[in-house]
Subunit: 175 residues, 2 copies
Amino acid sequence: MDVKTDSPDPEGLMLPVPGVDYGPLDGLLGYALRRAQNALYLDFYRAAAEWDVSPQRFAALVLISRNPGLRQGLLGQAMGLHRSGALRLTDWLTVQGWAERHDAPGDARAWGLHLTATGKRRLAKLEAAVAEHDRALLAALGEHGPALKAGLDRLAWVATAQSTTPQNKPRRQKS
Amino acid sequence: MDVKTDSPDPEGLMLPVPGVDYGPLDGLLGYALRRAQNALYLDFYRAAAEWDVSPQRFAALVLISRNPGLRQGLLGQAMGLHRSGALRLTDWLTVQGWAERHDAPGDARAWGLHLTATGKRRLAKLEAAVAEHDRALLAALGEHGPALKAGLDRLAWVATAQSTTPQNKPRRQKS
DNA sequence: TATTGTTATACTCTATAACTATA
DNA sequence: TATAGTTATAGAGTATAACAATA
């Protein structure tokens, strides 16, 4: 019968559609940021396709590799995740053979996270690929590169400062 | 009995944890972008709290307002969404009273999207709040602002170009 | 009493697949 | 035969709530 499957539709590209008026969006910093992040996200996947690792999981791997014995909770904190999210993330890393849970010295409740030997070997190559990918981007950006990097760091700082500035002291607001 | 609920944990902040070595992450453009986007996302919610609208839904509203009669599919395309995602998004906008589906002239299959009168009124205020929010950010960024904006636009372009460059012509690759 | 991690559950976002009614 | 939208479903990702073990 040759069943017709529908369009495969490789979505996610978010590119400007000709003939559509974007109004104030084009001028907004936040929208520019989203567009850039969207594009970079897809681009990262291309660079890391061989390892099947998302940007977030890559960050987790780097954190564990640079901080052997890192607690699960601290990993979550560094990545803006809830405890339960850090658990899921760690589960995935262990099931995939990247990392292991060891006993944490000094606290029987906690785990210390460590890369496996395989994980270390794989991460070395993955890091090289990501670094190369980043270099290619910076090269393509030319003169814009350094200013962009500086601006982003500053933006993260500024926006965080605004969010965390205790306007009315964020004591579990009831209203 | 005064049941103890666990920590409310206002998560998502992703701020640098003292004592943790971030290794190469601090130097990566992609990671800086993620940090900035994370901070800005939370900050946007603060600015738009009154309307309960996410950055994405805000973008959809602006697109519909500037392109009355916009097709559902085109909206999705502009936002990098699958057809089914555009449907969910539109459903939400209509249920919340922001927008309506009208018949599209010339094609009985399609919808033309329009803001409701209420939607227009609300969006005017929301847009003003978002614009003000953006201005505050730019002011806080000072000299970095314009360069950052330019760099982001360029980055979106560069990363998209790399992704969409037909390396082997993306004709439904089988292998 | 507070913290670390766990379990169970639910909600959001977004994709795939198959269907309809047009074109 | 292709397109616009729909339905049903599934998979990430991440949250809340309640619990056990330990501090």
